[in-house]
Symmetry: C2
Amino acid sequence: MFHISDAKNFVGEEVEIRGWLYNKRSKGKILFYIIRDGTGYIQAVAVKGEAPDKAFEMYDQLGLESSIIVKGIVREEPRAPGGYELTLTDIKPVHKSVDYPITKKEHGTAFLMEHRHLWLRSKKQRAILRIRSFVEKKIVDFFYENGFVRIDTPILTATAAEGTTNLFATEYFNLGKAYLAQTGQLYLEAAIFAHGLVYNFGPTFRAEKSKTRRHLMEFWMIEAEEAFYDNDDNIALQEKFISYLIQNVLENCGDDLKILERDTSLLEKVVPPFPKITYDEAIEILSRKNFKIRWGEDFGGDDETAISESFEKPVFVMNYPRDIKAFYMKEHSERPELVKCADLIAPEGYGEIIGGSQREEDYDKLLKNMKDFGLSEDDYGWYLDLRKYGSVPHSGFGMGLERFVAWVCGIPHVREAIPFPRMLYRIYP
Amino acid sequence: MFHISDAKNFVGEEVEIRGWLYNKRSKGKILFYIIRDGTGYIQAVAVKGEAPDKAFEMYDQLGLESSIIVKGIVREEPRAPGGYELTLTDIKPVHKSVDYPITKKEHGTAFLMEHRHLWLRSKKQRAILRIRSFVEKKIVDFFYENGFVRIDTPILTATAAEGTTNLFATEYFNLGKAYLAQTGQLYLEAAIFAHGLVYNFGPTFRAEKSKTRRHLMEFWMIEAEEAFYDNDDNIALQEKFISYLIQNVLENCGDDLKILERDTSLLEKVVPPFPKITYDEAIEILSRKNFKIRWGEDFGGDDETAISESFEKPVFVMNYPRDIKAFYMKEHSERPELVKCADLIAPEGYGEIIGGSQREEDYDKLLKNMKDFGLSEDDYGWYLDLRKYGSVPHSGFGMGLERFVAWVCGIPHVREAIPFPRMLYRIYP
């Protein structure tokens, strides 16, 4: 089957395209049908007297988004968006579409979200999800090339690493409640003892009543866990990972970035090393900007945006107070009130895209942390086992896919960075 | 950092390995430490008088699965499993492991499952999950190379494509119940109108009270959906897909298949074309084997095994009765009691690994099917829209990852083909 993206190999030949009518216009004796298949867009031109009469009879019958089979001869046409055009020789409807709901006029977000199943077809949404798909491919490539083994961690879990208040729960037969995992990290930690370097990649759930442009109830996360890595090794890996993804997107997704009118000069700067500041320094930056945050408090979205404004590249914020971070993070050797961690904040106000840390490898310290955080020893017996039998220094991180994609695409809200977003007031379609 | 899998590039050099003590033995004046890192196994040999005394003092202190840092000089050794050995020059414990629970004696499955977090380290489990990880990488490659766009379909859904009885449910804020998706197919169908060829790859949930060796409550599925493909195109794609995965595993996972003692001659036969029989013919095969199944009934696990015994390759069973298949399947043009579908049954009794079909593209027929199957028109308004605006012939399929991996690895139960299996009586660890 011929695909529009292959047009350059068929100049002068007649091809058949199976796709949809994306747009049409007429200008005197000439008709223009813009056709879309999965791979791209092409304009088919019909001149009165040269093209079959059918092409003209069809014009009014074919509503936008009708499915059609079009034949035509491929021509080079420098003025056309893709560089090629079709001299139309035949057009045949597969299914006529009448009154397609999404029109050229401005629609509100609620309307578009309600029609997400159709909105996906629009040029911009298509470009975003093509970039997402490419990013996902390169995520898998990166970890494969760097010797990581993929470990799919469970979604249904009996306990919760970061508390159960923000978790979706379901009945699990006779075993009581199960929770939808917010992270697979603890399970990845078990797997490093078998495979050294491991990662996961799957959906994650957070039943949080937040309605910001950076939150989804269901989002995709990539987590990596690395045996014998300290916090610095972990950070170096993240720099390499983020740069690899960005540079690959720049090389391969130029057309889609153009559709999104993304300023790629900002992305080109994303090469190692990234700036690194401490939590203390971040608090100072915010104080200088007259933010009211006090030492010991966690950053909100506005804080992250303000921090990112001081840097052109993503910035690591290191060594947070232990009280606002998870129980499994390793104590800072010189300042026990801190932990050896780093969050990566994207530029341009896209917020935290990675959270990572070195993990506490000492059995007694971990157990004490768990008690301090109110976690039950029984529930985490298996996790404590990992510190009993050949414990090693290790680190890991987790990246939120939608935030990353939103940043790359330069779109203001994560809801467009996932095919069917799940938000506080939306679970349809 | 040096990795055991790189040994061949370091012959004659001193290297440092960070890993775990997999096994040890002593024979007169010689000690053998078998060390494992994430990438492989290697034996370090210490000869009394040549190796440091420390190596001998350590021997009794180091329990199996202790984490250690070992230095040694790499030597070629044709008798060693990987072809290389280490002349030990230093050994240093990182963390001493005492009384590691999994020993050389036979453990029951319940015990091993209860210790899944540790069992992962064993040689066979490690091999299985390495193969799984490789298969996952090649799945992503296959779809990328064939022009498919990845579309992550939602897990939390307001309705259920195949009935709600076997679904896990959770409260979704003020929007009522949400169900964990059993399939993302309907959502993929929406995406073909934007991208032509699409696939998803993620966890799937089935709250079914079954306890067979082929069932998990949480398993991973790959689904593909293809615009303008009929059932035959769909089958050809599946043949290509399965053969691609199998041949890539044979080329790249030889060591792991050897650990699993897999008879690879059976896998080598998996090249297109695969045999194709109809449902009617499958019923005949079973009748000849004195199975009591009657026309119109669905196959159980034993039926599938019996069918597979007649073939060396995976076999497609086509055109099932409509009453035992899903509402979205396209009617057979000559026999309206059948649908245009095919299930792919793996050889050697590994059961159904793929279910696929052409989809009903006609609005009126689809609506009638939905009513016949007792589905509400309101719940599926968005899905019906896809037949309103430029409907096209299309097909798709779904493959269960764990069944595929179990087949490739030659293991009897799917529970070992996933890192942390979720079964009727198991959600821990």
